[in-house]
Every structure is written in C-alpha cells, then in structure tokens.
C-alpha cells in the first residue's frame, strides 16, 4: 500500500486526442475504484499547438479510505513525476528539459515519431532536430524509456494515437489496473471501437516485448537504397576507389545515363576519376578514403542531371507513377483516380532548351520585363496526368532529350560544372580539407527557377570571390568555407550569407536590383 498518488503527465499536440486519453485514464481509474483527477490547459493550443494533460490517481480502493479524499495537485511538479506519456518525441524532450523527468523516478513512454515544427520545416536544407540525440537525452534523464513508433501503429490500424498510448500505458503496469478494465473503457467509448482495440492490442504487445527486451531493435534506421549494393555491380575503371565511393559513383553513372545517354555518363565517370586522381596524388599516392571524390561524385551527379522541362516530363510520365499514387491513396482496383499536375514553365525554362541564338533574345525580353517591375511571363498549367492527353504530352516533352544538348542551359551548366571542378582540384594545393569544403559547396545547386538561381549565384560568389580572398591558415580556411556554405542555405533573402561574409571581412555579392514596387499612398 502506498501513501502517494501516481502522477502521469501526457504530452500531446492540439487536436490529436490527448483529451480523450486523459478522459479514458480518468474513466479506467474510476472503474478500478480509485480516486482520480485530470486537468489540462488546452485553450488555443487545440489548434495544432503543444499542450499537456495531467492525471493523478490514488491507487488505494476508495472503500479503504473511509470518508477521506486525497487532495490532488492541479499542476505537475518538476522532479515529482512517475510517468511521462507522449505521442511526439520533441514534446517528450521539451518536458524532459523542463525538469519533469528525473532519473530516480520517472518512467517515459514515448512515441519516436516526429511531427515537425514550422521552424524545422522552413529550413532551406535540413532543419530537423536529430531524433537520436533526443532519445539519448531522454534516456539519460529518465528511469527508463519505452519507445516505439506509435503514429505508425495508429496509421496502420486506422485509429487514433490515443488508443495506442492507452495500450502502452496498460502494458507498462504503472497503474495497478488489469488490462480488461482498460479495454472495457474503449468498448464503451462509442466510436471506432474495433480499430481502437486493435491499436490498443498492438501497443500492449509491443510495450511488453520492449520491457522484456524481446525485440532488442532500436528505432528503425532509414535504409538507403545503396544498402543492397553488391560488389558484382562494380565498374573496373573505378575499382581503385573504396566500396562506399564506388557505390556513389555507380549511382551517378546510372543517373546520368538515364538522364541523357551513355556518353554523358562516361563524361561523368571521367570527371570523377579526374578528381580522384588528384586526390590520390595529394595524398602522396596513398589509397586514402577519397572523401573529396565521394562529395564530388554525389553533387556532380545531381548537377549534371539538372532539372529542366524534359526531366520533369520524364519523371511525371514514369510508367509506375500512377500506380504509386494509387497505392499512396490506398485506392482499390475499381476506384477511379484522377491526377492533376501543377506546372508553370516560364521564359527561362523554355529558353534553356533552345540554342543560344534563340535563347538570348528571349532572355533579354524576360529581364527587361522584370526590370520594369512586371511579373515574369509564365504559363500556369493544371495538366491531367491520368488522361491520355496529359500523359501523352508528358511523354512527348520527355522525348526531347536530344534537344537538351543543343540548349543554352546545357552549355551554361557544363561550363559552371567545370569551373567548380577546377576549384575543387585547385584547392588540393591548399589542403584536402579545403578541397573537401569546395566539393561540398556543390550542395548549393538544386531545384528550379529562383531556387536554382540563388544557389548558383552563391556558389559562383564563393568560387570567384571568396576563395581568392581567403587569407587565413589552411585549417581555418576550411572552417570559413563551410560556415559560408551553410549560411547560404539559411534563408531565402540571403541575410545570413551576407552577414557571414561581413563577419569574415569578405567581399559581398554585388547588389542586384530587386524590382520591388513599393505601395505608396496615391
């Protein structure tokens, strides 16, 4: 017999069913004949924000207490929590850092699934918080952790995450209440009972096996396609590279061949081998890890397969695409699925496919238009890819691969690629670390339209202006380049990039006139 309540804090996101879970916990404790209290602070957090629910249960039968009633706290108390239950990993970490979780006392039951915050999503590259670091932090702070992907179970069983959490709580034996009482609460809840019970059951079993250590699996790792790579796929010319680099190069070769043709792929191979040779030479002919070559192999493949109308059309008309979408929608065979694509080719995209003598006047018109404050001319289309016409059009556009090599864009890209590669190989004279950072700056090239332009301008600035003006030690040089490349990906407006350059006393990008038409009172 205990003389203290069991204290449970539930972290949830608004609209996710945390309130239902708290209600169920209240109900199950009442049915077990315990005194119980739950509280919450939903307010506007109901609209997708982070919120918590707090439950206290006095685990002694009411009858044994006579006319005494326990006084429950309305707030969770730091360092005095038995159980933290959470449907989202970041929120678990938030409460852990708020001091709610203590190593001598608190057991944590958390989903490892993430619902990303806007701050993470807005990042130009990857702003996600590292989940494994969060799990590590939580396990260090708590007595023990039961963690698995509860959102996945909820989705698979077509139920709500509260049912899954409820099952996990039942199995965790934090509350001295038998399983069938938990299930009876779900049964009388009225809606989606069967699905809830399935989710409950799976979480129950998963929790038991996690506690007894049956599975032993950590959180599922993201498997890269290259895991299936075997040595038999190797290409003799690149046989001198470490296997992991060979994998990248092989992918690059396949990608460039599919993008254009075999001879384009072999020019990719040549470019990579050229860098690899320089790298080997700089390492004094030693084998080394070919770190720079690996970076080049990755970004070169992506750059050489730059995005244009032809590529998009080919991707959009891949033979398995519609089936993939049907699967994603869980469509049955007899269901009809219509797919519409949103495209908006503009002058630069069209000009890119035309030879320079035709592209030049078009681009001149385009720039004039922008300078005069007008919107760029473009052609918004909502194309039905699931119709014969739409699909046929994509196939037709996709067949214009041959046109690409004559196009102005193709030639420009090849020049820029050479400039970058030259920058990489030349940097070996400084140090392999500097070469590595220059190779890594290839990540700035991605996407379409303004995204692509911004990345290209930043990369050019780094190659043409930053590198020649760097006058620090070799090790510091590498650090500076990395910080500038990272800054280039911080925001769309280039504020971080500019301030980073300022901090390093490096020349700024030339100011480009940006046509903003200020609203003015007439």
């Amino acid at each position: 017999m205990t003389d203290t309540p069991i204290k449970v804090l539930i972290c949830a996101l608004g609209g996710e069913g945390g309130g239902v879970l708290a209600e169920w916990l209240f109900e199950v404790a009442t049915r077990a004949n315990f005194f119980v209290q739950s509280t919450s602070v939903p307010g506007v957090a109901q609209r997708t924000g982070a919120t918590t629910y707090y439950v206290e249960v006095y685990p002694v039968a009411k009858a044994d207490l006579g006319d005494r009633r326990p006084i429950f706290s309305l707030n969770p108390v730091a360092r005095d929590l038995d159980f933290l239950v959470s449907s989202e990993l970041l929120e678990t970490a938030r409460q852990t850092r708020a001091g709610m979780v203590t190593a001598d006392k608190t057991r944590v039951l958390t989903s490892i699934s993430r619902v990303y915050t806007n701050a993470e999503k807005m990042n130009l590259s990857d702003g996600r918080i590292d989940s494994s670091a969060l799990i590590e932090e939580i396990s260090q702070s708590s007595k023990d952790v039961i963690s698995f992907d509860m959102a996945a179970i909820a989705a698979e069983e077509n139920t709500v995450v509260s049912a899954v959490l409820f099952g996990a709580i039942a199995a965790s034996s934090v509350l001295p209440i038998p399983r069938d009482l938990f299930e009876s609460v779900i049964e009388s809840s009225g809606r989606g009972v069967q699905a809830s019970l399935r989710g409950f059951d799976r979480a129950y079993l998963q929790t038991l096996s996690t506690i007894t250590g049956d599975t032993g699996d950590g959180p599922e790792q993201v498997s890269l396609a290259m895991d299936s790579f075997t040595a038999s796929q190797t290409i003799p010319e690149i046989g001198f590279l470490p296997l992991s680099v060979q994998q990248l190069v092989t992918l690059g070769i396949e990608r460039t061949a599919e993008y254009q043709n075999v001879s384009y792929a072999s020019s990719y191979t040549d470019r990579v081998i050229n860098v690899a040779k320089v790298e080997r030479l700089s390492a004094g002919g030693e084998a080394g890890d070919f770190g720079v070559t690996a970076e080049v192999a990755r970004y070169l493949a992506l750059w050489m397969c730059f995005d244009d109308i032809v590529k998009v059309a080919r991707l959009k008309s891949k033979s398995d695409r519609i089936n993939r979408i049907r699967q994603d929608l869980k469509a049955d065979d007899e269901d009809v699925v219509h797919v519409y694509d949103f495209l908006k080719p503009g002058i630069p995209e069209i000009a890119g496919l035309l030879p320079p003598f035709l592209a030049a006047p078009l681009m001149l018109y385009h720039r004039k238009r922008l300078e005069s404050g007008k919107r760029a001319l473009s052609f918004p289309m909502k194309l039905r890819a699931s119709s014969v016409f739409g699909y046929g059009l994509f196939r037709l556009l996709g067949s214009f691969k041959w046109l690409r090599t004559f196009g102005s864009r193709f030639q420009e890209e090849q020049q820029l690629i050479e400039q970058w590669l030259l920058g990489v190989t030349a940097s070996f004279t400084e140090s392999p670390r500097v070469a590595f950072e220059v190779a890594r700056s290839g990540r700035l090239i991605k996407g379409y339209g303004s995204t692509n332009e911004r990345g290209r301008d930043n990369l050019l600035h780094i190659l043409e202006t930053v590198l020649p003006n760097l006058s620090t030690t070799e090790t510091e040089k590498a650090v500076v380049i990395r910080s500038i490349v990272d800054a280039a990906q911080a925001d769309e407006e280039g504020e971080k990039f500019s301030s980073e350059l300022l901090k390093r006393k490096l020349p700024q990008k030339p100011i480009v006139a940006q046509p903003i038409r200020w609203y003015k009172k007439p």
Partner: protein, 716 residues
Amino acid sequence: MEKSFSKEIQSLKLGDGDEFQGEGILAITKALLQSGVSYVGGYQGAPVSHLLDVMVQATEYMSELGIHVAPCSNEASAAAMLGASIHYPVRGAVTWKSIVGTNVAADALSNLSSPGVTGGAMIVVGEDYGEGASVIQERTYAFALKSTMLLIDPRPDLQTMVRLVEEGFSLSEVSNMPVMVELRIRTCHVRGSFKAKDNIAPQISTNKLMQDPAQFDYSKLAHPPVTFVHEKLKQEQRIPAARQYIMERKLNEVFVGERSNIGIVVQGGLYNTLVRALTLLGLSDHFGESEIPILVLNVIYPLVPDELVEFCRGKEKILVVEEGAPEFIELEIIAQLSRRRLNTQVHGKDLFAISGEYKVDGVSQGVERFLSPPDKSSGVETELIKGPAGQTSSPIQPDNLSPLPPRPPGFCIGCPERPVFSALKQNQKQFGKVHVAADIGCHSFGTFDPFGFGHSILGYGMSLASRAGVSPMMNRRVLSIMGDGGFWHNGLLTGVQSALFNGDDAVLIIFKNGYTSATGTQEIISTPDEEVKASAPKKQESLVDRNKTIEETLRGIGVEWIRTVYTYDVERVKRILDEAFTTRFDGLKVIVAEGECQLERQRRIRPWIAALKHHGERYERVKYGIDDDVCSGDHACMRISGCPSLTLKDNPDPLKEDPVATISDGCVGCGLCGENAHSATLCPSFYRAEIVKNPKPWERVVNHLSRAVMSVIAKN
C-alpha cells in the same frame, strides 16, 4: 459548434444523490441549475466556453425548466443582461473569459453594482492566467474591488465549487452585490466528481412569466443623485451583510494544525497547490492533514476582519499565499491586523515570487523561507523574488544542447485563412512591406512562423481602430486584419464606423469563416443557416457566401469599396490586395475574405461521406501529393504555407541529403498547395489526386480505356 455535448447534457439532469462526473466548468453549470437560475448569458472563450456551449445545445431541457439562454454579442451585452436582477427576484448568471471579457463588460458591471441586485447575479469568469493563457496577464481582483462586487475563488474540489456557486447566489441576494466566481484554467478543466442535487425550475421563468413591470424606483438607477447613496450603501450595508453571511455559513474554511503559533492564509484556488507543496516538505499528508493551520479564503472579496483576527490570534506570524500583483489580500490583512493592534507578522510577497502563476515548486520554496527565515543581515527580505520567466517551472537548459523549436498553435489543416497569409507573404516580396494591425482570433496565428505578420494587437475587433493613429502618419497604406467574430464583437462600431465617420483611407480584411472559430466554432449572426447546410448538395463546399449579413451591413453603413474573394483563389487574393493598396479611392476599402471554417466543413462532410459509403454511392476524396523525385528539397512551399499536413520526410534518393516535402494522410484537399504552386512558382512536384469511390459505370469504362491507351503509349 466544434464539440458535441450530448453525454454532458445527460449529466446535467442528474438528481439528488446521483454522482456527477466530469469537468469543473460543467460542474459549475450543473450548480447553476441546482440554484434555480432564470437566465444565462455570456460570450465564449477559453476556459469557460463549455458552460454556455452545453446550455445552448441543451435547448430542449432548458426550455423545459424555463431557463432563458443567450449567447451574447459580447461581454458588455452579457453583463447588461444581469440588469434583470436589479428589480426582479430572478437569479441570473453570465460567463466570459477574463481579464479581457471583464474589460469589455466593465461599464455595465459598474452600472449594475451601483444600484445593486435583488435577485442573485453571478458572473462566472475564466481566469485566463498562467500556463495555457492566451491573454494579457492581469487579475480580475481589481474589478471586484473597484466596483464592490463579491469575488469567489473556490477550492478546486468539485463539491466545494458547486457549494460555493449555490451559496454565492444567496450571498449576492443577502448583500445586494453581484458576485463573481473566478475559475483558473486548470480548475475549469479539472475532472472529478460530486454528489448532485435536483435542479430547481425557477419561480420566474420563460414558462412562468411576470405579469407586470416593477414599480418605478429612482434608487434602482445608476444615475445621480442616487449614485452617491449607492456609494454609501456599498460600504455601510452591503459589505457588512456579506461579511456576516460569509462568517455564518463558513464559506471560508479553517483547517486546524498542531503548530498553532503560525498559520497560512490561501486563496481557495491555490489550496491544492499549497497542500502538495506542504506534502513534499513533509508537513502534510495527501489528505490535507497539515501541521500548519490553514485558512482557505473561498471568498477573496470582501475579506472578513473578524475571521482573520480570530485566525491570527496567538500566532507569531502568518503566510499569505496570493497569486499575482499587486498583493491586494496581503495588504488588506496587514491593514486589518494593524487596526486591531495584533502583532502577528504577515509574510507573503516578501517570500514568494512577485509575479506569475503559483505552482508547487514556487510555493514550497516560499513556505520553506517562511519556516526558516534567512538571516536579516543578509538583506534577502528586501530582495525581490523573481517569478518564472516562461511557462514551465524550473527549466533546465544545459548549455551544450541546442534549443528546441517552439510549437505555438497554428492554422488547422485546410484552414481558409492560411491562403490569405500566403498571398500576403508573396505580395510583400513584390510590393514591399506593410504595417499590419492584427487582431484576436484564429488569424492571429499569422503572427507565428512561417508568416510573422502583425505589428500590434489592441484587443478583440480593435485592428481597424488601432490603425487610426498610424495610417495618417505613413506614406503607405496600412492593413488591418479582423475576423468575422471580432467584427461583430465590436469591430463594426469601433473600427468601421469610426473610419467612415472620419473619412479614413484604410484597408480592412474581414475573414468571413462563418463562426468564432478560435473559441470552438460558436455561431454568429453571419453563420450560414442550418437549412442551407441541410440542403447543400455538396457538403464539402464552403457555404459562408450564402449569408450576406456582413456585406449588407457594410453597405448599409456606407462602405463604398467592398470586394469579396474566395480565399483559396490565391492569385485573386493577391490581385485584390494589390488593388486595395494602389487604388485612387480615398476611403475605407474592405476585403471580405470568404471561406468556411474547415473544422465545421469536416463536421458536415464526415457523416455525409459515411452515409454515401454505407449506401455504396459515388463519392470523391481529394488529396494532394508530392513526387519525391521532382521535389527540390528547398521547402519554399512550407515557407508560404505552414500546413500541418505539408511536412518533411527523408529523401529516398541516396544521392540527395535534404529531406523532401511530403503531404500526410491528414490532407483534406483544400487546394492551397496547388494554388501556391502556381502563384509562387514553386517546383513542379505537386499533384492533386481525386479518388472516386463507387464510380458510375461510364466512368469505369472511360477509365479502363484511357489506362489501356496509356499503357500502349508507355511501351513506345
């Protein structure tokens, strides 16, 4: 309305001896019925929305009892409703969120308190203070003090809360003072139980009408010269009467303890927090058996000097546990003890945080300081103790950990207000920044990532008024944003009328989503009619365009420049914003941004789809998607959306490192992604998928044919 209360309505009907189980605010609702109220009004807002919501949904039962229930247009209108209890022996209750609602109601409350009431008049205020609060951090206490209203702050135990409501009506009648019952956020949402009593059908009601109006009585008017008499009555008759009743009925509770030389005086609402703090210090058990005697003030205004003196007699020192600043209760106790020449030392704010919500940690530290006072020479006693900076208690932020991103509330999936902010963000890139006067409502989420719009918030419906001093001083036009809730709450008068009267050059967006959505989608005068909803052939469509009350009101009052736009048409929203900012029309320009609250649409769609599914009839579902291999990984789409269903996943391409955008199953197919893809020239990875379930025979045939042709094309 967002929530259905069918289950809760049943528990409101419980009778003598039944056990009521549920939320604090519903226990209060039940207590009103047990007290025999004749009328109930109020304005929705967390944490007290449920009181009115459940009564509105229980129309049938309310009319059976003869209770009049009115969701009012604002808190002033609710407060004025209590005027019924001035002349007539009818009990009435109103409710709202405080401090904001009390601010709005203040005029009527003063005018109610001055003549005083005959029938019990109760104001249930949700004290939106501390963690989870969405308003400015001020306490209601000052209002009770200045207008001489009773203020009850009950111990957060359902049985006690119910008792205090019942006693509160009698107290109001005995003293002629209106009574406020303040409930903190967690108290409103606390789930517990109490022994119910039968409800009382009021003696004067919609079923038992009064035959004649009261006699004319000048003293019941808040008008000179009787206001001077009222002022005297308050101090000389009403407060003494109240004090006597509080003493007689033992509304404040004393819990004895063995250490009789000291004591603690606590606001009722903080009692549980105090007990837990004492328990953790080993000074109490979990049943409230404390070593230190405790006086629980369930009525915090007026205080009862005799009771205080009685409690303090023979004590060296007492500790006052009172939340917020200034310390009204503590100062009053000091004054009372001093006048009675008692030597008991009074501690409180010298040992507790000067501001902020009182939680267990802070209270237990204060109690510790009280029990073992620091050396006087150290000067600690004069030092201010700072309250918690944020919402969490004792945050631990190790230096080597990167900060966790915040997760404030945001627009729901498919929210019709999001597209307007997308358009505004795109427009500002092209046309420069504008001053945005923001307002209260869901649209205030536009102040968060990824939008960050709004220079000021001056109150509910105040955006247009709050720009009146800015726009004459600025070279560019200023944008005011208001919801339809705020428009009807007071924006029409304080904003629109004032701008018209002064001939102001102003731009106003009114979000016409049809409900006061932030508070739980309660209905307003411009909500589409039930008939319209019932007869709409396509339930997924926005129906707010079917109610033109806002447009007609605007025209009627004299607004000449009105544009109505369907918010999901982002390109058109951009064009209209552009026009409003550049037109030569020198007056008030109103953009009515239409799109029905998605929560309400989903509430309509779900049963409709379920029925079609059940009968094997044709229905569609729309979901947007993203091609992984086309997505550029730049996330430009997220920076103009912020939709929870538009999120990230690992890049399946082993060559690419940046995560790709993906659209989760939560997508309701609102169409914004497609609109943004076009209007902001995003990457061509977005697609719209329409899945037709139980298609018509001809659809199947066309589908099979075209799929056959496509597979032929694919092979060539």
